[in-house]
């Protein structure tokens, strides 16, 4: 049966409609490999009990409930429980091994603080990692584990209106000023209907999703939890950490469960192509897979080809590649390529691209840009210049989006909201163009750095490095460069030759300590070398261009007297 009937107007109505559903549901695979299946009817029943338990804890309609719950089934139950209690869940990422706990506590404090969370729900294993942050969140009245919510308080479904806030998606913004996207029930209905029915044309008797994506992130949460709840679609969930440790678990789950739909950001395809061994593929059958989605990160055509080549012996069909474009501010998905079309890339002239024209490359050496397809029915995409004027075919500008998936704004941030959504048009901050009605994304207007699926604001990194001895705030620029299909971080610092080596070491260390991020190169350049605006602010784009052009090579050595001691080598 295709998911052809209209979707329910709210998530709470969609959940209510699932109460009697005993054939379809979610499978949760634990880290130890054990699997547990719940029918949607069971999940909704348990969710209603959790809703009543939250209500008994004093959670009222409209209260924000922070969720720090790494385990899949507990996350889903807590999320739908909060929604059924009329509360607004705020999914947050759990502490991850090898990352600095102090930085994690700060992030938890800032996000839960910005959301004005009343209650924080966690698990027994995560409690110790979030507990130190709790006293620093003024709005918080309690920190409970899912076990604390197990008692019998009856069942509850508090119905929402379509315009009510369903949850807050904290996804972008600097560490100190996180931005929570307000996602309404109607946003969820509109977007999930668009990608489940129009984008994927899901047939619930055949299709099954497989996801290891984190549930605190829009692609994992809306794409594989909320969309499938609206559409009653079977999904198998794997722990994110299991995939990163052993990428083969993703392929094994797809094969074992005859998965037909899966999604991942670009880095994950690269990880599979690199880490999965031919011998591990012998037993696998990936032929049922018909939608292998790539999104959330710039899509690299070569990475996807490497993935397809690697998996061809397991029956992987490269026509299943489904390039897509989206962002949290548009709920999730903005555009999809047609099903079964595979990868279509445009080769454009890089020189013309710098001038804002995406002219087809005449010969070899063109820059390959992947088509992200067309926008959904009821939605509109346009390309505009800095003044907001519409641009034509193959002219590069900011991508703007309009329609029922555009979210209500940033929670408690009217100014940021007014800057991002103007006359109903969401300004994405992404650069792109339209050719033949299809959307091509070619860069970012904002200086956001995206490395291996994680977003970083350059200012956060620049501030951390700016606090080091021998470095002044405002004399640091951070940006990412493309290195073999993968983005890598470069930090340019103004400093003296005498301090250069200690700055390089200290900068690499502080970035790793604070962000668990590896620096490709710390470039120390003479004072006064960074390009600046008239007000004295360093220019990130220009700095990056100078770095790429090699303008900083040897700058420090040339600035120092020729008789100075042996030159230090840049980078490494």
């Amino acid at each position: 049966m295709s998911a052809s009937r209209p979707f329910a107007p709210t998530l709470t109505r969609a959940l209510e409609a699932l109460q009697g559903e005993s054939r379809h549901g979610f499978t949760f695979v634990r880290a130890d490999g054990e699997e547990r299946w719940f029918s949607f009817g069971e999940l909704v029943g348990l969710g209603a009990r959790r809703a009543a338990a939250l209500r008994a804890r004093g959670v009222a309609k409209g209260d924000r409930v922070a969720l720090v719950v790494p385990e899949g089934e507990e996350f889903v139950l807590s999320f739908i429980g909060a929604v059924m209690a009329g509360a607004i869940p705020v999914p947050m990422y759990p502490a991850v091994s090898f990352r600095n706990l102090h930085v994690y506590h700060d992030t938890v404090t800032h996000i839960a603080g910005a959301a004005g969370a009343k209650l924080m729900v966690t698990t027994a294993s995560s409690r110790e990692f979030v507990a130190p942050a709790a006293p620093r969140i003024p709005s918080l009245t309690g920190l409970v584990t899912v076990d604390d919510l197990a008692g019998d308080h009856g069942s509850l479904i508090e119905h929402a209106q379509p315009g009510d806030t369903a949850f807050l998606q904290f996804t972008s913004g600097s560490t100190s000023r996180p931005k929570g996207v307000v996602v309404t029930h109607d946003n969820l209905r509109a977007n999930t209907e668009a990608f489940v029915k129009e984008g994927l044309a899901v047939d619930i008797d055949v299709d099954k999703g497989v996801s290891w994506l984190p549930m605190f992130h829009d692609m994992g949460l809306i794409g594989f939890v909320i969309g499938p709840l609206f559409g009653s679609v079977d999904v198998v969930f794997l722990p994110t950490a299991s995939f990163v440790r052993r990428p083969g678990v993703w392929l094994e789950a797809l094969s074992r469960h005859k998965g037909t739909i899966t999604y991942a950001p670009n880095f994950a395809f690269q990880l599979v192509a690199k880490r999965v061994k031919e011998r591990d593929l012998a037993e696998l059958d990936l032929s049922p897979l018909r939608a292998t989605g790539s999104g959330a990160e710039p899509i690299n055509a070569k990475t996807l080809r490497d993935f397809a080549d690697k998996l061809a012996p397991a029956g992987f069909d490269r026509r299943s590649f489904l390039a897509s474009y989206g962002m949290a501010e548009a709920t999730l998905a903005i555009s999809f390529v047609p099903r079964g079309a595979g990868l279509t890339a445009d080769a454009v002239d890089p020189k013309a691209l710098e001038q804002g024209k995406a002219s087809p490359a005449s010969a070899e050496g063109g820059r390959e840009i992947v088509s992200c397809g067309r926008s959904f029915a009821g939605h509109e995409v346009a390309i505009v210049d800095e003044r907001g004027a519409r641009l034509g075919e193959r002219e590069v500008g900011e991508i703007v989006v309009k329609g029922p998936s555009v979210c209500a704004g940033y929670y408690g941030e009217p100014e940021l909201t007014a800057g991002a959504i103007r006359d109903g048009w969401l300004h994405t901050g992404d650069l792109g163009y339209v050719a033949g009605g299809e959307i091509y994304v070619c860069g970012r207007l904002k200086d956001l750095i995206i490395i291996r699926g994680r977003n970083f604001y350059p200012s956060d990194i620049e501030w951390a490095v700016g606090d080091l001895p021998g470095v002044r705030r405002g004399n640091v620029v951070a940006f990412s460069v493309d290195a073999g299909g993968e983005e890598q971080l470069v930090v340019c610092v103004e400093g003296t030759r005498a301090d250069a080596q200690s700055i390089r070491e200290a900068a690499a260390k502080v970035v790793n300590d604070d962000f668990a991020l590896n620096v490709r190169e710390v470039v120390v350049i003479p004072l006064g070398t960074l390009p600046r605006t008239s007000s004295g602010k360093p220019q990130r784009r220009k700095t990056k261009q100078m770095y790429v052009d090699g303008a900083f090579d040897g700058a420090l050595e040339q600035a120092a007297s020729p008789s100075a001691q042996e030159g230090a080598t840049e980078g490494a």
Binding site: D32, S97, R246, F267, L271, A508
Partner: protein
């Protein structure tokens, strides 16, 4: 398995995952000075799990700051597995 062997295995896997030379690192080297991001570290952990046929759960990895800390966790898990 000797302590030294575990360190050598770590160096070998790290070199494979990050494609860089790790022959000079010592047990006392802080993880943050290896120049490997947290995803890369999890890849290394996954490869150690695979080769040594053990599990290193997230809880056990909390508080790991140096290479030695990590190898201690590995040693403990190997003993538990025997």
């Amino acid at each position: 398995m000797e302590r030294n062997t575990r360190l050598e295995l770590f160096k070998e896997i790290a070199a494979e995952v990050v494609e860089r030379d790790f022959s000079k690192i010592e047990e006392a080297t802080p993880i943050s000075e290896l120049g490997i991001d947290s995803l890369g570290m999890l890849e290394i952990v996954g490869e150690m799990e695979r080769r040594l046929k053990i599990r290193l759960p997230d809880e056990a990895l909390a508080g790991v700051e140096t290479v030695q800390n990590l190898l201690d966790v590995v040693e403990k898990r190997q003993q538990m597995a025997n």
